[in-house]
């Protein structure tokens, strides 16, 4: 079955009435991940856009057809470690133990528990939807926010304009935890994303699997709501968000970008990058080029071992 047939037939277990913004990348990611995980799944959605948009539930009503819990911003991976250990004890290791968390709950406040659970190789599939900021609380910066971005805590001021630091590149950090599986994915490349979610689910029965997903955010990034997939595609095409995976400790580029477009082209229709200085633009381009080279080297080394 190809990925379109898979997604056509797999049941959507998330409430149709969730209150995410129009064009939300995170909603798309959540629905696809849980469609593939199916009903034999326990999911945690920590505080963030998804936690705030009614997918857990409201008062006595549930937001999903599968067991769902909103843990703390800071403890999703630890909490699910406990759930996972209990399911191993029950002899029900077939149950998918899944997290869908934003970059704040993943790269910032939740990073310690994430790193701990990854190092212990807990049997969990951890999905991060990275929209580069704390969008649910009003578009504040996070450690994955790109240099020069205009957010509500890195505003355009007369003295300082936008974020002053480069982003933290979390997926590569995660891959160095001796994970079973680590990958990046983008909703613009759905066949690739579906394959990686399926691999992640399978690997989560062996140990910790991590997938870092590009999650375009029209409300926080300031672009037209129908442009999300196009922006995600340009993020991949510009090497701003390279697609790769690590499996059995071997790295592999899953999108061979022969003719990358420029970062200037990627950022031009995104409002949070308006007034990006030439200096910042050059710095982002340089960081992106450097990162892509490093990833390619990692991948080629892995290939040489085969």
């Amino acid at each position: 079955m190809n990925y379109i047939q898979t997604l056509r037939t797999a049941k959507d277990v998330v409430t149709p009435g969730m209150s995410a913004c129009q064009g939300c990348g995170a909603e798309l990611i959540l629905r696809r991940v849980l469609q593939l995980a199916g009903q034999n799944t326990i999911v945690c959605v920590p505080p963030g856009c998804l936690g705030g948009s009614g997918v857990v539930g409201w008062d006595y009503q549930t937001g999903m057809e599968i067991p769902v819990h909103i843990p703390l911003l800071t403890n999703t991976a630890s909490y699910l470690s406990g759930v996972s250990r209990m399911y191993q004890r029950k002899g029900r290791g077939d149950v998918n133990i899944v997290c869908v968390a934003g970059d704040g709950a993943t790269a910032d406040g939740g990073f310690q528990s994430l790193s701990g659970a990854a190092e212990r190789n807990e049997k969990i599939l951890y999905i991060c939807y990275d929209n580069e900021g704390y969008m649910n609380t009003g578009f504040q910066r996070s450690s994955t926010t790109t240099l020069g971005s205009h957010t509500s805590t890195t505003p355009l001021g007369s003295v300082i304009s936008g974020k002053e630091q480069q982003q933290k590149y979390l997926p590569l950090i995660m891959s160095m935890h001796n994970l079973s599986y680590c990958a990046t994915a983008s909703p613009s490349h759905m066949a690739d994303m579906v394959a990686k979610i399926e691999k992640g689910l399978a690997w989560s029965k062996e140990g910790f699997a991590y997938i870092h997903m590009f999650s375009p955010c029209p409300t926080g990034w300031l672009y037209d709501i129908d442009q999300g997939i196009q922006i995600a595609r340009k993020a991949v095409q510009s090497n701003f968000f390279p697609l790769w995976e690590m499996e059995n400790r071997k790295y592999r580029m899953t999108y061979d970008n022969k003719k990358p477009i420029s970062i200037a082209d990627f950022v031009k229709d995104i409002g949070k990058f308006r007034d990006l200085s030439e200096q910042d633009l050059a710095a982002i381009q340089s960081m992106v080029d450097d990162r892509y080279e490093k990833l390619k080297k990692l991948s080629s080394e892995a290939d040489c071992n085969e």
Binding site: D59, Q61, Y79, S81
Partner: protein, 392 residues
Amino acid sequence: MGEIKAMTGNTAAAVGAALSRPDVIAAYPITPQSSVVEYLSDLVHNGSIASTLVATESEHSAMSVLQGVASAGGRAFTATSSQGLAFMYEPYYQMSTMRLPMVMALVTREMISPCTVWGGQQDAMSVRDAGWIQLYAENNQEIMDMIIQGYLLSEHKDVLMPVNVCYDGFYLSHLVERVDIPEQSKVDAFLPAVSFDHVVLDPLRPMAVDSLTSGEVLMRYRMSHLEAMQKTLDVLEEVDEKFYAAFGRKYGGAIEEYRCEDAEFVILTIGAMTGTARDAVDYCRDNGTKVGLIKLRYTRPFPQQRLIKALAGKKGFAVIEKSVCYGWNTGPMYVETRSAVSETLSGLSHFSAIGGLGGADISLNHMISVIDTLQASLNTPGQKQTLWLVKE
């Protein structure tokens, strides 16, 4: 009688936990608790117990892992102290508000600053309003017994709250005493397998746990939690009786009264200092002073009715504590004790005594000085100055 062994308070806690057959033990080392989890790690690694061990990267994660374990229907154990408890506070609070049962040994220790690693009860007292049941043990036998009792209480259908078994860092954690170890078969008969269904994470029974909740509904959760806390006052007495029937040891429930019947006035103690207080009471009794002792065993729920009864007809009381209550210039349990007996307070002489902070000793002379000071003030009812038990 079971096997008799000499052991530290931390070993007693670990053995009590092991006898309770937890599904998962998750912990992070911290002075003076570390040897609890070290002992349990040995048991797991040598195959002596069937529990799963999760050595987390922090106390925050230890409590979070166990929240996941309990959500999936398992029995959970951990131990911590002081700064570890402070770091754990976020999931610690949620453990009680999710009404999940577990037992945690809280090896009480002073809070920084200035830097200290020694005893005190400030850590436990600082979280007294986090919805946990909190009880204090006086000796190593009581530590072991209360960990086992703690599970029965915590998992009781009318309770469903996590339990802190608190005991003094170093004074008990590292002190060796004689302990009568309950037989496993008797513990198994006393403590049935954990079973509850208000929180279940299971694909066979899909449930949203912790949906976004409006204030009107949330207040029902809090009302129910507070009511269960009051109900616990009865259940803990039942559990004490049941334990007595099974193992022949009885602790008196929420408080223990020592030589109170004909006493004119009483001192109240918490935890290991009670041993010294017993000797002080005996000594003063020998000299004709009609003093009694109340050992406050449970602070959450607070045993108001038991205290009203125990203090009826007395002329005064002093509460001796290893912690402070900022804003009151007293210890916290002094404030709660005077509140408990507020209807008869005007006729009583009373004060707070604070000592033993940061591992300092509370000596026999300190205890006698509290008794003497209280006795000297009995004819003038009202609150007296806080007495600091510093080096004589």
